[in-house]
């Protein structure tokens, strides 16, 4: 029964969507305290390479690798964050973009460790490892009427979904806490926030390194979903793509980032039937939407309009 509904291709795209949601949030969090970071691709690479190397060379379980990868990216976020957060706006964007490139060039040149531009092969794939584990405790996919590859992708999808929901829950809760309000006060006016007794440096570094942590987490997961990474996966192109997720969907609200990541990952796949023209359509869509709605598709006004609509409907009833 279940087997008829599970298509590895769709699950794979869903998995990429979930990873992209994490990446979009990693830009959204620093942005919520007024910092435009373009270093996500770099932090993502740090997380991916750390986790991949640990699991390849030390046979660590994947979840340890992923956690360490994310933590290393987060620590790098703190180290980089402290000096570079003196910068703001465009200057910070350029500095973080530079950081991302530096990280990529290190991956290219540190050949003894990263195998240079050839990339790392043979990274344990999350789903396949889980399949092995399940078999060891005597569970066969066939018991649920699933084929092996269906089981593999279903497991990957479920794990990613749990992680993404957990992350969204965390960011959402944080937003409505003292920390989140401090973030938005810094975004509105740094000077005013400081005079109200908010420790600007602390909160800025906090939001920046949270973004780095999330990007690292996404990168580590990416490595274990793909099974192969190379420096070209973490280029400048990727940094811009991640930024577009957030800006396109709406950078003021978290659901904007989520929407942007889902929509922009799905579109190139849905448009596969027009083959060569799909990226042209993708580009035209971006131009039109940015011209019409520079704040992104979803913003606070639109959301509150939805809410009012719902409420008034409820009232009539």
């Amino acid at each position: 029964m279940l087997a008829d509904f599970i298509n590895p291709y769709h699950l794979q795209i869903a998995s990429f969507i979930l990873i992209n949601i994490l990446l979009a949030i990693s830009v959204y969090v620093p942005l919520s305290s007024g910092q435009l970071s373009l270093g996500s691709a770099g932090f993502m690479g740090v997380g991916a390479y750390t986790s991949a190397l640990l699991t390849i060379h030390f046979d660590l379980p994947i979840f340890v690798g992923v956690l360490v990868g994310a933590a290393v990216a987060g620590c790098l976020g703190i180290i980089i964050g402290i000096p570079s957060l003196r910068l703001s706006g465009v200057y910070l964007a350029i500095a973080t973009l530079g950081l991302g490139e530096v990280i990529r060039v290190i991956f290219v040149n540190w050949e003894s460790l990263t195998k240079g531009s050839i990339g790392l092969t043979g990274i344990p794939q999350m789903g396949r490892e889980l399949l092995k584990l399940a078999r060891n405790v005597g569970i066969e996919p066939a018991m649920f009427g699933l084929r092996n590859n269906q089981f593999v992708y279903l497991m990957v999808f479920v794990i990613l979904l749990i992680l993404v929901i957990g992350t969204i829950w965390f960011v959402f809760r944080q937003q409505n806490s003292r920390i989140g309000r401090s973030f938005s006060s810094i975004q509105m006016d740094e000077k005013a926030a400081e005079s109200m007794g908010i420790n600007i440096t602390y909160f800025k570094v906090l939001s920046f390194s949270q973004g780095a942590f999330l990007a690292g987490l996404a990168g580590a997961l990416f490595a274990h979903v793909m099974g192969y990474i190379s420096p070209s996966d973490f280029s400048y192109h990727r940094a811009v793509e991640i930024l577009i997720f957030t800006v396109f969907g709406g950078s003021e609200v978290i659901i904007g980032s989520i929407f942007g990541a889902i929509f922009l990952t799905l579109i190139p796949e849905v448009l596969r039937f027009v083959s060569e023209y799909r990226y042209i359509i993708y580009g035209i869509m971006l131009v039109i939407l940015m011209a019409v709605r520079p704040q992104g598709i979803l913003d606070i006004h639109l959301l509150s309009k939805f809410k009012r609509l719902k409420r008034s409907k409820g009232g009539v009833r």
Binding site: P8, Y9, I17, S117, R128, F172, G227, S232, D233, V253
Partner: protein
């Protein structure tokens, strides 16, 4: 705010469910149509190619080569091949999604592509796991056929091409000292460099200097000055043609007159257009020699130019051969069954293709003779 939070989940859950349930009918499609039908064998071959983005020219050449081969094969009538072409945009995860889509279609017999080695490394293990034969037509990096039983390639690996070219060049020039220059941020050029260095060491050549450059660089004077001062007898350049041609141009202007030995990526008629006179003295080993007098090559050139308005390059030629190899294996397999096809493909021996006599070794790598060509007086000629 809590409402928005819940709503975000609702939206996500709905979208995910949509994705899950939007199963295409093709996955449950019947296999009946792929079987023999009045003597001809019907088969669908999946193609993953780099059709949009910076390297789209490669993907275009490959798909054109495939389409030409397809129309010829179908005309002959023994097998009838359908090509299902998907774009990968040169990105590993897109290539994986595209390949996943193809593999999920029960009617797809085997896959050709993806174009880049970085894409291939991501896709091939998955194909191998699913038991679908996959063949690279443009992937020359080391370690590709080793991925698994179902992984093949018909592009000549650098490990075979470069040493052949170096041996011939050293034989004629009697070179003792060599300088190396390579692009260190590209899989192809990096793996070509590894091969060059290993071959140079094995041949007992003295490496006087090793220089690197990056993709898209336009000024190589710093590296070339060092090379000039080291005074080598031969320069081994692992570069793609666009950078390589500029390097040769600047080297000649600087007064470096020694021959260059290049890898597979350096082998393109574009070198002549970019570097002009300065390209004289480039030696490359290649499976594809477009100026050849071989009637097969002449005919292919003519047909290709008629169909697409330009002369084919090695990528088109390799793709053309690849589909013929698949068709040949399909004939021997007798029916469009993934397992039978895989067995037949692995047994490919002494196949007479456009590029010459072709066989797979036991891991699915190429066994064939390599031609060495050089640029002399502004055109490619066979190396004497």
């Amino acid at each position: 705010m809590k409402g928005i939070f819940q709503k975000s989940f609702t939206v996500m859950v709905v979208l995910m469910l949509f994705l899950l349930t939007a199963c295409s009918g093709s996955s449950t499609g019947d296999e009946g149509s792929t079987n023999t039908d009045g003597g001809t064998i019907q088969a669908k071959i999946g193609v993953v190619s780099y059709l949009t983005g910076a390297g789209a020219a490669y993907g275009e050449a490959i798909t054109n080569g495939l389409k030409l081969a397809q129309s010829e094969i179908n005309e002959q009538g023994e097998v009838n091949i359908d090509l299902v072409i998907e774009d990968s945009a040169g990105e590993a995860e897109q290539a994986l999604s595209a390949a996943q889509k193809l593999m999920n279609d029960e009617e797809i017999l085997a896959i050709i592509g993806p174009t880049l080695s970085t894409e291939f490394f991501a896709v091939a293990p998955e194909a191998d796991l699913n038991g679908i034969s996959i063949m690279g037509t443009s992937t020359t990096a080391e370690g590709i056929p080793e991925i698994g039983d179902y992984v093949f390639r018909n592009s000549i690996p650098e490990a075979l091409a470069i040493p052949t070219a170096m041996e011939k060049a050293v034989e004629r020039t009697g070179a003792k000292k060599v300088a190396l220059i390579y692009g260190n941020d590209d899989v192809l050029t990096k793996s070509g460099f590894d091969t060059m260095k290993k071959a140079a060491e094995e041949m007992g050549l003295e490496i006087v200097t090793i220089e690197t450059f990056q993709k898209g660089q336009s000024d190589y004077n710093a590296q070339l000055t060092k090379i000039k001062n080291a005074n080598p007898d031969l320069i081994l350049a692992s570069a793609l043609y666009n950078e390589g041609a500029v390097i040769m141009d600047q080297a000649r202007k600087m007064g470096i007159e020694v021959p260059f030995v290049g890898g597979n990526g350096f082998n393109s008629p574009q070198v002549l257009e970019i570097a002009g006179e300065a390209a004289n003295g480039l030696i490359v080993a290649t499976p594809w020699f477009g100026e050849s007098e071989d009637p097969k090559v002449v005919e292919f050139n003519k047909k290709f130019e008629e169909a697409y308005g330009k002369l084919p390059d090695q990528f088109a030629a390799q793709a053309y051969d690849a589909l013929y190899i698949y068709a040949d294996a399909l004939k021997r397999a007798g029916e469009a069954d993934r397992e039978l096809f895989h067995e037949a493909l692995a047994e490919t021996k002494n196949f007479e293709g456009l590029l010459g006599n072709f066989s797979f070794d036991e891991i699915g790598d190429v066994v064939m003779d390599v031609k060495v060509v050089e640029i002399k007086d502004g055109k490619f000629v066979e190396f004497q």
